[in-house]
Amino acid sequence: MTDAVSGAAGTGAGPERVARVVLVDDHRMFRTGVRAEIGRTELTGIDVVGEADDVESAVQVVAETRPDVVLLDVHLPGGGGVEVLRRSAPLMSDPNGVRFLALSVSDAAEDVIGVIRGGARGYVTKTITGTDLVNAIFRISDGDAVFSPRLAGFVLDAFAATDTPPVDEDLDRLTQREREVLRLIARGYAYKEIAKQLFISVKTVESHVSAVLRKLQLSNRHELTRWATARRLV
């Protein structure tokens, strides 16, 4: 069960480094399961410092504990993950601020694109394994982005839909390399495998993925809006 997120960052998951994590999910069973899977700090290096089960409590817990990473469910009572992101926006602005990783059972386009536009740094589905989730959390806390194959597919789709861009929107385009990286993610390659395939370092893969995420957020006004409108997602 890989979600293309098992990467070299996993080596950072030693006890010498601890990532503080908040779980946001409306199913208590799920929270308990995730905590049991990743919360053994001495093994995984992850310290679960708080839990929340709706938008209101999530915003409050995140503001109080200031964790490194928030594992955020997309469907929440009180407005959903997007609302949490909107209201926590001030916490995200500073470079060492709180980062959000969306963790959802849904992989529908509107959910994925919605939370990414809201500012989440990655998106994984709940089929992910514990090890992969730990890796993903550390990568997010290091400032990288985590893409699942489906998310990569959505991004490719969104950018492919607009093939003839005006020249001044160059900033919002994906470079050939970024497209390649995304395509390999969509094909089910882990970051490590992508690095091997393209003869680049894992760090470079991660920086490509981060660049894609940045462009994704920059592209709000242009491609993604158009793309989402065409699919009646907005």
Partner: protein, 454 residues
Amino acid sequence: MASPPYRRLYRSPHGRMLGGVAHGLALHLGLPVTWVRVAFVLLFFAQGIGVLLYAAFWFVVPIGIGEPAPGAGPRWAYVNGGFVPADAVVGGAELRKGRPRRIGRLRELLQRTFHGETAVAGEAVTDSRPAKGGLGQLLALLLLVVGIMALLSALHIQTAKPYMWPLLTVGVGVALVWRQADDSRWQRWFGLEEGTKRRAAYTRVGAGVLLVVAGTVGFLILQGGDSTVSSVIEAALAVLAGVLVLVGPYALRMWQDLGTERTARIRAQERAEIAAHVHDSVLHTLTLIQRNADDAKEVLRLARAQERELRLWLYRPEAAAEAAPDTLAERIRSVVAEVEDLHGVAVELVCVGDCPMDDRIAAQIQAAREATVNAAKYGGGGPVQVYAEVEGRTVSVFVRDHGPGFDPDSVPEDRMGVRESIIGRMKRNGGTARVRPAPDGGTEVELEMERAHD
């Protein structure tokens, strides 16, 4: 370029000055091309026989394809029982290198008028190698003109003067038509066919035919005056009809044989498709039944489902086929769902872009289904990743598993799964399939297909 099993005489399309006769002969005989050219020139002084010979070779000998294309590597000539670089054989290379610009232009003009499109096409092909033509080609053209003049003067001496012009007209007409046939063949081999060139080709063939007819009629008029023309034409038509009666049945038979052969080929292909389908569906179900032999209920379910499916496939009415989803994404989604249900392994599908279905993509999806089934069966139980992408006219599908992986070359000959259902099927429909190990274990199957033109 290994020595061919037997050498046939071809005219060489590369490095030729006129028709490639001298070059082809040189390659065939293993002589330096200069010698052959000098021989032709010398023979021309013997009452223009050289020109006649050259023309005869030009008309009779087909243009060759055995030679490597220029720019594809060093060219080799067959000399004294061995191959040596052609440039060492072809004389006068240094002369061409420094060809003055004006002569080049003049040559181009001459080539345009004399060769028609070939000169231009030839330039496109041999762009990387400017040694072709130049002063040498100009000289060759001049020589040809002089040769024709000499020939005409010889004819002038021996026969009555008035026949010269009709003969000349017919000759030019025939040359035009043959030249065109030559070009079209040449262009087909090198993929230079363009819509705009076709009209010029028709014009040239038309002009050639017109010239031949005019020449013949002129000849007839000179032969017997106006009065006999009609009777001669009638006689000619009668002869033509006679020939048609004689040759017609043979031509018809040949045409029919061609058709029969084509249907046979189509039938063989259809048979291969059916075999592939039976392999995908029936054989897989039988495997599943063997595995679940103890579970009578499951066996029944599988058998019934398979029977239904096979019946539907064999006897489905055309309308049923149209009721099926008609875009790539829909179709591949349903196929993936089906495999997931049947094998109980999660399949993650990512689909980028979409396009309407056509026959080739249907074949590709069948191949993808087979690859997914393989991944589900032998992929170690982990999720199978399927990625489909439409980019322009190209549709690519990647199927990836995280199983132990396997070496496609080590699969025994009698196992048809990968070889026929995936690779063979893609090939038959004009696509490509690659099976390779994924970087960190597992196998990835890559299927690529160009969409049919809509």
